[in-house]
Amino acid sequence: MDVDFALIGHQESWRAAADVLAVLRGRERTPLPDDEIRDILPWIPPRAVCHVEVGSIVSSKSVGAKACGLYIDSFIPPDRLEAAYVHENIARVRAAAACAIKAGAKIVSLGGFSSILIEGNFDQLPERKDKDTVFTTGNTLTVAFIVQGIKKMCEMEGRNLHRSTLLIVGATGDVGSGCARCLAPLVRRVLLSARNVERLRRLAAEFEADGVQVEVATDLLENGGQQFSAEADVVICAASLASPSLLLGRVAPDAIVCDAGYPKNLSPSAQMPGAKIFFGGLGQVTGGLRFTPDFHGILNRHPFPDVVHGCLLEGMALALEGRFEPFSQGRGFITPERVKEMETIAARHGIYLAPLYNSEGQVEHGFHCQKEWPSAGTPPSEAWTGYPPASGVP
């Protein structure tokens, strides 16, 4: 079988890992107890978990009606995502990448921490014979969906983006800087926050040269931090916050907040009662998405059907387009032009911004959202209630 694409990912919670193993174990067998899963999972070598088939809404001689691929799990244990395990995790991503190369995947998307770990170090990926497997972080499509989500939320809330103060947390990362480049020309003022002061200054200088009003801070908590971000009414958390309460009282009370970090950890009611929080960077496949074995709602744990992280969708979109090229590589190269190009490719195949939601459920109305999040044992027909109405499709 031709492997058009491979998606490299990992489970972000023990519950998700348990659900994956429950599917593999079969519904007729007793699920593994939690303590056994915690004991076993760290020993599983990175490997393919299932076959993935993605459909396009168009079919012609130049582009495919569908693309076939593999989901490869690096089996990074959910409690080992911190910096202390970085070398171990890079080794796992490398081994997962080797699986993709061995399978003959033409393009590989790096999901979740996989791209963060390799972002600035593509030379850490395994040697490829003839270079016929290419890698993309998928960050360009992630940026596209974050930006689309911000625009959509502003529209829904009746906000004028041009009068907004935009705060980007994790601004110097690949996704953060890409969002900044796309949105800076559209807002009144830009606030950039990141840990690396040199990179922050370089990014700010880039915007200042274009006449953008920009300020920087390395720590939202540092002296004057509250004043720095108090006016921020549009916020993108491009890095997962060490503590979600970090934003509490430090941004405008009714701010639109896009949780684009990984894992997503912002919750509207507990942390920012007045804020309009949504999970960003997610897209939805409308041409059909199939997992074999059936991992629907397990590998893509979202309250809407066929919703997938933008980073993974980028590989699928490029495969459908027949463009097997390393579209997103390195850090800081995402431009508004590249974002536009990528969202055009995705849209051509029916991959659009997903309905907006947060940890409490749907944010925008008019979509059918399941009441509870899926878990193993929920038949897909009950878990998913159908596609959004036509208004959800650009």
């Binding site: 004991d39 020993w43 599983i44 070598p45 490997r47 393919a48 978990v49």
Partner: protein, 252 residues
């Protein structure tokens, strides 16, 4: 690292034992039993080999495995314990019976899959873990034997890969059939608790809960063994998603 009795005395002559000696005694007993089963398996294998070179190879392997068993017994004496073995113990007996069924069918490939892919994965991984934590010559012996076992896995891999190249589907079905029988038994042996009663190898109560006292754990030995097994199956070329499902279905 704790000091063990390292005298050249027989077990009977030793009067004081390290507190961990009874744990190592059971670890050695399991290893020694496994080596004797392997020696018996290779001897049986020699009886169905047509090629004189293969006969000689199998007998040589049998001798090597007996040598490993003797080295484990010697390590026991160094720490002042007698290392028993029990090839009739329930789990080991079941593993031997699975191998003998392949012999009865004159199934050379099946024999290699059971011994070299399944039993040796378990041996290589668990000996290597023990080798890292066991003190002195005991640790060195486990590590050295793990390395030797790994070497002769390579020899079988070439034969098995060639066999799979002839008919991958048939080969994978054969491995799965043997996996269900052999790996289910091994998984029960490697479970964190012996749910089917005493294993009939440990000299007193089950040694698994005591492994923490020597910086080991049953979960770690199981994890390392299953990881080695998956990696060995990868080397054979069996798809990773297939073998992951096989392993996920094993008892815990």
């Amino acid at each position: 690292m704790e000091t063990l009795i390292g005298l050249n005395c027989s077990a009977a002559e030793c009067t004081s034992l390290s507190p961990s000696a009874p744990i190592w005694q059971d670890v050695l007993a399991q290893a020694m039993t496994g080596e004797l089963i392997a020696a018996m398996n290779y001897t049986s294998l020699s009886e169905i080999c047509a090629d004189p070179e293969e006969v000689a190879d199998a007998l040589e392997h049998a001798a090597i495995e007996r040598g490993h068993a003797a080295r484990f017994a010697a390590e026991g004496r160094k720490i002042g314990v007698d290392v028993d073995n029990n090839v009739e113990a329930k789990h080991w007996k079941r593993l031997r019976e699975a191998f003998l069924r392949c012999i009865a069918e004159r199934d050379f490939i099946g024999c290699l899959i059971v011994q070299e892919i399944m039993l040796e994965s378990f041996a290589v991984a668990s000996y290597a873990r023990v080798g890292k934590v066991a003190p002195g010559s005991l640790g060195k012996t486990f590590a050295a034997i793990a390395a030797e076992e790994e070497e002769h896995v390579d020899h079988a891999m070439a034969i098995l890969r060639a066999e799979r190249a002839l008919d991958a589907q048939r080969f994978d079905e054969k491995v799965y059939g043997l996996h269900l029988e052999v790996m289910t038994t091994l998984a029960k042996m490697l479970a964190k608790e012996c749910k089917d009663g005493h294993c009939e190898v440990c000299h007193a109560s089950c040694m698994k809960p005591s492994l923490f006292d020597v910086s080991l754990s049953a979960a770690e030995l199981r994890g390392a063994s299953l990881q080695q097994y998956l990696k060995t199956l990868d080397m054979l070329g069996i798809p990773g998603e297939v073998t992951l499902a096989w392993v996920s279905q094993l008892p815990v």
